[in-house]
Structures are given as C-alpha cells and as structure tokens.
Symmetry: C2
Subunit: 340 residues, 2 copies
C-alpha cells in the first residue's frame, strides 16, 4: 500500500505543510456579522469598482490571493501554483484572476467543498516535494450566484426558511513545505453521496449525508477519537444541515455535538435574515482564513477538521429532474507540533 | 527547493507512475474518422439510451472509467480516487458519474486541458505515495456543448471556417505507482494566457499562445531537446491553432514542426465537415487513451508530450466583453525505461 495512504479514503502528510498566511475579504453584509473583526477587508459595496458582479467576484478573489501572498512575505512569482475555484460556470472568477496574477493555475470544481479540495491537493504538492509554495483560494458572491443558480435579483423572489445566503467573499491560504504552522496533517477525499433531495433551496439537507460520510470515514481511517479534536467544522450546511449531520454521525457511534460547528452558521447572525445560514465556496474559505486561522495561531484551537461541503447540481441537471448530490472533503489542521 | 520541482513550472515524477490501462468510448461521427479502429466502443447514436444529451455524456464517462478500471484488472473499489471533469456547467457529467461509481472524487475544471490536469495531479498522488490507483477521466459531447456554449442545434446556425467540432466521447486512464508503463515522468503546470481573442468560434487561436508557452517552458525547465521527443501533441487547437503554435514556439528557438501533432486534427478527416478540427475535453482524452496509448505500448512512440489545451470562457464572460484566456498543461509519457 502507498506509504502515505491511511485507510480507505484518507492520507497522512508526514512533513505537515504549514499554512504560513491567510487572508479574507468579504462583502458588506458579511462585515456586519459576528466575525466582522476577523476579516482583513470589508468591502463598502459588492461591485468593488467593477461594472458586473462577476467581475467584482474575480477581483475579490485576486485581491485576496495577493493579500495572502503578501502576508507570507512573498510575491506572486514565488508561488509555484494556485489551486482554486468558485461557483460560476467555468469557474471564471478564478481563471480570470489567475490570468492577472500570472501564477501557474490548476482549476478545481467541488462546489462549496473547493477550499478543502484546494488545501488537500496543495498539501500533497508541498508535502511530496513538488512545490515550495501554493496558494489555495476560493470565492463566491451572493448576486452572481443568485442570478446564475436561481432567479434574477430584480424579480424579488421570496426565500423559503430552508434557504441559505451565498457569502460574498474570498478566502486564501498560502501553504509551504516549511513553516511554524498551523500544520495540515491529514486529509480525506470525499465520495459523491446523493440521498435524493431535489430542492435547490434546501442545500443543507442535500450536503449533510456527504459530510457525515466523510467525518465518520476520516475518524475510522485515522483512528482518531472525537475527543482528539477541538473542533469539527463543516462548510455551509446551515441550521437545517447541522442537525442532520450530528444525527447521522451519531448513528455511526460518534457524538460530535459538543465540538461541532458550521461556517454557514458562524458567519451570520440569525437577525441578518439569512434563514438557514451562509453558503457558497467563499463561506468556509473566509471563516477558515480568518476566525479559525487566528484561533489556530493563538493555540485556542489545537486540532480541527475542516469539512467543506459541496452541492453538485446545475440548473440543467435540476431541470432534467436529477437530485442534488453532495461531496465533502476534509483536512485536519493543527496549531503546533504535529507529532501524533 | 522542493526535491521534485524542475525549473519554474515543472515537476519530475521520480517513481514514474504507470498508465496501466486506457479506454475510449466515442460517438458515431468520431467512429467514422481515421482513428475508428483504435476506440474501444463506437456508439450507434449520441443519446446512448438516455433521454438527454447531458445524461448521455455522463453515462459515456462512467462507462469509459469502468472499462479502463476493468482493463486494469481492478474493480471501482480498488481505485483510491477519480480525478476528472468535463465542459458542462458544474461538471455534471463527471459528478453524476462519480456518484454512480462510488469512487472518492476530486473534480477539476481546466476546460479542454482537463485530461492533462488529471494526469498531472494523478501522477503526483501515485508518485508521492498518496494513492495506489487513480483513474483520470474526462468527456465532452457535441450536442450538450453546442447548446450550452453557442446556439440550440435546432436553430441550424452556420459555422465559420475557424470553428471546431466538439468531440463526443470520453477517455480514461488508470494510473498506478507500480507497473510496466507507459510511464509519466515529467509534468508542467500551465499559466493562464490571454492574447485578446474574443471570438468563441476561434478557440484554436485563443488557446495556441498558452500551448506555446507551456511547451517552451517545459523544454527550458527539463533541459530536454525537441529531438528527445518523438511526438508533441496538443489537445484541440485544430488547423488554425496548429500553425500559430508552431510559429510561436519557433520564435522561442524551437522547431517542433516535424514531431508536432494535434488531437483535434488527428481525430477527424477534413471531409467530415468539422472545419478547423475537433475540440472538447473528450478530444485529447480519447486520442491519448486510444491511438497514442497503443503506440506507446508498442514502443512506436518512445517519448511524447501531451499538451492538453483549454479555453477558459463562459457565456457570461463573453457577454460581458471579456476575451478568451487559454491554459495548457503538459505531461511527458514514455513507453519504457524512464531512466533519464
């Protein structure tokens, strides 16, 4: 068996790549939420000086990647590869940003799981000696996502209680084979799981089974106990998905309720009118790159599992009657001393 | 510097993962072309028993992956990870296939460069000891691509001479850390390059500069000479893009004209009415998984560079006046004995 494989779906990163810097830029609504003090930049409006939401999203992603690179004391030319993606068709936010940055680019699509996929593959590249520096970056934008996936905003559609609010923002992290941490020590690649949910306004329920599957597989593969973790954070299941995942994981014999959190719940107050919570490729990316990263740096989180979750639908597949499959990838991040 | 890095954008795969099997399934038009005898399956019609072209494309991809796995003497449960993507929004062909196959899945989006991106990342995972077996697979479908990117087929639009014909088909390869070859020995990650082309019917010209940049960077990074290669094959530049890439690479001091080929030119006869040639995620994947793979197995090709090329546009970015950036990733495949 391959030396760095662990169980059925996991890998160990023996050299434990460091996340040497992180940056998060968010929109005005996110800047009014409970994590406002942790973000690097809160935009005044969601156009960011551009004439379309799509161009604004690409600019946000580019600025976030640049800021993370700068915080690491590096220049774009020092980065071996940019790994990332977004929710827009053909991941145009990421590709147009990569064009401007001039960094070799590997585009990923895992819907809202993309930040974990980027960290997983970035860890492999740095851990295996294939790269010195990687930037992992994803974005989403409420207005560009709504009009692509649901309805034109001008239509003023009502939102059902299970709906979530796509986060406007981007999170970026620079990985390096050397560094003082936080360290990525383990990762689990998810399977595509589908329990037959067809409601595009109930993504939390569509993604929860994939998250539960990845969390339980990770624990089995690694031999770690729930008590070895200070935090297990899913990407954007929201309030509806949270309850499902806790129950499904409990059904497999693991009680994660006391250390479980969801980025989609953390990022907004209930009073902000977001119903079930935040979502989008940017949701887990900005929360991980700001709030969690700072807690890891201070040692307030010793070991966490980031389980970013993606709903793998398109408007075409929905119109053709397909259900919404989910996928979840996990990375284990430790504040210090990965001698496990 | 990371031990497996080579120059600015390339890596070396010291354990040289093997492509232990390959499979290609194509549509009827591809089955009438010059490579007809090399494909595993030629479909009788492009619906493949489904009621939409999108569902047909996903089924083609799934059957191709299954066939490649079977030819390797393996079952889906033996595969650590599936890496791949397609041209449809949110890569639904790949994700719905991954759902059926039950293989852990990392979704990629590099437009028509995706098969090289899959082989590059799959090589890293197997070479670095993170996986024993990987399946790399991509697909495209003429009818699903036309209606998503251009016009409804029912409209009967005329095609300009620079236009290309999206290949209906899927190519899959199984990578293993051990094996008797063909071996993947080097890889180069491309940058996103944009020379300002805005015509979605002239993709060859949009992608050619990225291909030229990756080819010259690869040669500089590796120190290999053009004469060390028996074949340099781009993905789907077609006749228009071919001439541009040969000229641009010559401008950098490398004459590749005698060993250069393009999968988009190989797959169709000029008499088939495809104008500049074939294109699509499936184009380079099926040609590499059939014709080139068999030539590598027989030793008729000793060392080749597969440079799959992607045009990174969306209908939204085009409508907003953006030009079409290109990206090209390269992998070096050798028939035997990678002692270089």
């Amino acid at each position: 068996m391959a030396v760095n494989k662990l169980g059925s779906q996991s890998i160990k990163l023996n050299r434990a790549p460091s996340i040497v810097s992180a940056a998060a830029i968010v929109g005005p609504k996110e800047g009014e939420g409970p994590l406002r003090d942790y973000f690097d930049v809160v935009l005044e409006d969601d156009y960011f000086g551009e004439n379309s939401w799509e161009k604004a999203e690409s600019k946000i992603l580019r600025h976030t990647a640049e800021l993370a690179i700068q915080k690491a004391g590096l220049a774009p030319g020092d980065i071996d590869c940019m790994l990332g993606g977004d929710l827009l068709n053909q991941i145009i936010s990421s590709t147009f940003a990569a064009r401007e940055l001039g960094i070799p680019f590997l585009g990923l699509y895992g819907a809202c799981s993309t930040i974990a996929e980027s960290l997983l593959l970035g860890s492999v590249l740095t851990d295996g000696g294939y790269a010195d520096h990687i930037v992992a970056v994803t974005s989403s934008h409420f207005s560009s996502a709504e009009r692509q996936y649901r309805f034109p905003l001008e239509q003023g559609n009502q939102r059902p209680p299970t709906s979530q609010w796509t986060v406007t923002g981007s999170g970026a992290m620079v990985l390096c084979s050397a560094g003082k941490g936080p360290f990525i020590t383990l990762a689990t690649t998810g399977k595509v799981i589908d329990m037959g949910i067809k409601d595009a306004n109930n993504m939390g329920a569509a993604m929860a089974p994939a998250a539960a599957h990845t969390i339980t597989t990770h624990l089995r593969d690694s031999g770690l106990l729930v008590s070895d973790y200070d935090l297990i954070a899913t990407g954007d299941l929201g309030r509806v998905g949270r309850d499902i995942v806790v129950e499904m994981v409990a059904g497999e014999g693991y009680d994660i309720s006391r250390i479980y959190s969801d980025c989609g719940i953390e990022i907004f107050d209930e009073q902000q009118g977001v119903y079930s919570g935040g979502s989008g490729c940017g949701c887990s990316a900005v929360v991980a790159s700001s709030y969690f990263y700072k807690q890891l740096m201070k040692g307030k989180i010793g070991r966490m599992m980031l389980v970013a979750t993606g709903a793998l639908l398109s408007t075409t597949s929905s119109q053709q009657g397909e259900s919404i499959p989910g996928v979840a990838h996990a990375v284990t991040i430790q504040s210090a001393n990965p001698g496990r």
